[in-house]
Assembly symmetry: C2
Homo-oligomer: 531 residues x 2
């Protein structure tokens, strides 16, 4: 075990890569980036191809990244994780000591599951969901006036919000026309107020999502929504659904029409394929689409067990990320989907990646001795081209870019303008940006000069569907997990959120008692002019 | 002139700051951050106070930043800009050679305008807008069936989209209940298709925004929308409005119900207070609210002319940003509004900042010798606390944080839960995060240890209103301009978007002619599997 849990600094390959990084591949040299390179540096996988010719890598670098992955035992650890090892822990110190089994949520298609016990629980919840959705369809579940439910408000925050929200946005082109979904997350009361102004509560289900059943924001928003239901003369228990841990404070059949369970072995930010995402997606799209979504994720999970980095997209993407971040000093990763449906997916990955790998302690309790997780950000193209791409091309900061594109649009509503349709324009821009970043252009006007050598990859799929969305999600989940193993951090806890909670309670106490100016928190309250 | 256009590297204060940066103020030392410091490091300004006690600065550092601002002549240049100097230029090379007069859009309240000629044009457009809005109200403008218009689709991209969109989102709590606004920006055909699926076109105005009248994405989306109007049996010329340059290809009264003008001296990303933002905001909120919005911006513009950094919020924020970026090596700025209404405002600032200052060439044509503009990103709190704050607290990357908060919510729909209402919880979390980042916490469990010394500021306002939104926008516009002056870059061009356009055209040509594999662009097309 200890041998496998090496961090990158202890590997021979690390030293070799450091040397190679002194002279990285120069894409701007005439002929360096040619057709052959573009054709060679492609990894074909589930639902997506990864085009990585525009990375500053040579076959030597790839070989070393392979060695690094092998020395760190990345795939071995991934397999341990899927089988149910207690991966959420820090040695020698109190820690969460949990299994990490979000992959079990979609391991329902295997003949032999990686972890039977979890998959049995997962299947039980799926069956409950199938029955629940059928009962809405066949009229067993209706409002007190006997009408069918047409809207759902999803109340959650962080891992209980960003995943489901971004995936719903990505797939709503396939949504049932008779159903609408709204999301409330922020404790800012304006968030719930804006949604409550728009819905017909009498026909609205309210899905409250909190694993612990005690998330402050979610409980506050639930109370605001329940209050609105009561004011509308409705019985909240006939409208509210729960996704929570079994026997949490929210697991209460008197208060909720139905409870769906999530489990300790599923972290919030990895919970999109659990009931956290499945209930809302099921309501919006139907049960079969949920299965398609899970199937895409499962196929990617299976593919991620390949040891050859050249044949494993998530692993290759992880190792290219390590190369860019730890060796070529790119501190941030921009995720730029050329697909309007994915407009919130970068925000989900920002969460999933930064909360997982934004750590400074190794799993052995020692401080990390190099950089761990990068900053992740991004907006859809082509929008971003008219916004921040200026800096990507000509700024002093170097950004690792991950493009995502699809050959076909979702809605098939297009027309030819000036010789091409919009989907063609979208794709042409995606490819053009990739090349422009890589090769640059010399110009005697320094302001029109493009230095090039800006590393990027393209994840290219056929169409954004429930299945490809599942695959894309699982791809990034696996990438993040592989990188965490590589940096030897615990990607599954989030101790960094605790101190803020403690201080917020102190400030709320000071507000309640009108204390003013004695402690630092009280002083700040006064300075901010908050009474 | 030349003397004033010093960049920071040439200033004595630069050397002094470099020395001070070797030993920056340590906020984690017991008692270092106390009530007195919090009370002292406050800058009171228009609609906002800036709380900067949680920056790693001393009075010495502030004095040096003042010297730097003075040596670079920042306020002088700002005044020149407002008066109409040709600030959009690069010496010795062909460049845009334009004035920079977005401030004129709100300089309509001054007794003596900084630039008369521009303000005359601005007032003319405002009068046109007022009349147009009145005619919708009084029924002069109606659809062919004699009905009133209830929806508006805003079609634009980049500077013609993100500003108006984020400000509309921020202010829709004050929106007229009888009107809805939609936005279409991406050339992805799914973007317009999703909006067209939702609106009743017969009662919908379509505002097409493009200064040049030739933006590819916008013209494509306009065509898709016009086509949908025709398919619905409607006459596009009765529904479409234009915001464009006078005598641009879009300035055509046969095709548009009305044209509103923007001018060469207003850059896209600085155009939110021009007709680019005002028409949509006027439709949604009414004309008087537009004036309130402009007034807030104007008041901030006036306040930004103060030379004392301790009394000028935009200038102080700019200089603190330079300190963090150039001296303390923070490569990114996170903008974290504790206000759901501002959920897209970080995306607008990302554009406005990164497209302005993501440059590598000084205004004298020489390369920049230090870092220019940082990466800007962010999401609203408290959402972000459950997402990426883990990295802010405990990651290996250091991020400069700018919090924005308001003492009161917009919609006044709140309730007390567990001793506090949601607005109080929101504010308590904002203050708690500021302190937690700054002071950190020692713990013998290294995984629960918070190193602290994470620099942050709080911009605190009373309530998010049209007026405070105007002030906030102008605050950041001025901050960006001051930083651009400091780095001696031209913040007003965007040459970095050109190469991508050229390559996209080449790829579209290859698509049309089914060329495959000869040039690099054609090879990438083949590798990506696009036929």
């Amino acid at each position: 075990m200890a041998k496998r849990r090496k961090s990158i600094y202890e590997c021979q390959a690390f030293l070799n890569l450091k040397e190679l990084a002194e002279n990285p591949f120069d894409m701007t040299v005439e002929g360096a980036l040619d057709s052959e390179r573009l054709e060679t540096f492609v990894c074909k996988g589930i639902e997506f191809d990864l085009l990585y010719g525009c990375q500053r890598v040579t076959t030597d670098v790839l070989d070393c990244l392979q060695s690094l992955a092998d020395e760190c035992g990345l795939v071995g650890q991934y397999e341990e994780m899927r089988a149910g090892a207690v991966m959420n822990r820090i040695e020698r110190y109190p820690s969460e000591e949990r299994q990490v089994l979000h992959t079990a949520c979609r391991d329902v298609f295997s003949k032999t599951a990686a972890n039977d016990a979890a998959v049995i629980q997962v299947k039980r919840e799926l069956a409950k969901l199938q029955e629940f959705l059928a009962e809405i369809d066949n009229g067993k579940i209706r409002n007190t006036a006997g009408e069918t439910f047409t809207s759902l408000i999803h109340v959650g925050i962080g891992g209980s919000d960003l995943g489901p929200r971004s995936i719903y946005e990505a797939l709503k082109a396939y949504g049932r026309k008779d159903r609408k979904v709204y999301f409330v997350s922020n404790v800012d009361p304006d968030d719930s107020a804006a949604v409550l102004d728009r819905v017909d509560l009498s026909k609205t289900l309210v899905l409250v999502v909190s694993k612990s059943g005690s998330t402050l924001e979610t409980l506050s928003n639930e109370s605001l929504v329940r209050n609105a239901l009561k004011e509308a003369g409705l019985d909240p228990a006939r409208h509210c659904l729960a996704v929570t841990g079994e026997s949490s404070p929210m697991d209460n059949h008197e208060r909720y029409l139905r409870s769906f369970y999530m489990f300790d072995y599923i972290g919030g930010r990895f919970s999109s394929t659990s009931m956290v995402g499945a209930v809302t997606l099921g309501f919006a799209l139907g049960y079969n689409q949920v299965l398609e979504f899970l199937k895409g994720a499962w196929l990617m999970d299976e593919a991620a067990a390949e040891r050859n980095i050249r044949g494993n997209i998530p692993l290759l993407l992880a190792m290219l990320g390590v190369w860019n971040h730890n060796f070529l000093a790119m501190d941030t990763v921009a995720i730029l989907p050329y697909s309007q449906g994915l407009h919130r997916f970068p925000a989900h990955l920002q969460q999933c990646d930064m909360e997982s790998n934004g750590k400074s302690v190794q799993r052995n309790g020692e401080p990390v001795r190099y950089k761990s997780g990068p900053i992740v950000w991004g907006e859809p193209g082509t929008n971003g081209q008219h916004a921040f791409y200026q800096l990507l091309h000509q700024g002093t900061e170097k950004v690792a870019v991950e493009f995502i594109g699809f050959r076909k649009s979702q809605r098939n509503r297009d027309m030819c303008i000036q010789g091409s349709n919009s989907q063609q324009k979208l794709l042409a821009n995606l490819l053009a940006q990739s090349l422009a970043l890589a090769v640059g252009r010399e110009d005697e006007n320094p302001n029109k000069n493009f230095a090039g050598n800006r590393s990027n990859v393209i994840l290219m799929g056929e169409r954004l569907t429930p299945k490809s969305m599942g695959a894309l999600l699982a791809l990034y989940e696996a990438k993040i997990v592989f990188q965490g193993f590589c940096w030897n951090v615990n990607s599954f806890d989030q101790e960094g959120v605790q101190l803020g909670k403690v201080l917020a309670d102190e400030i709320l106490g000071a507000m309640a008692e009108k204390r003013n100016g004695k402690t630092l928190a009280e002083a700040l309250l006064a300075v901010a002019g908050i009474s």
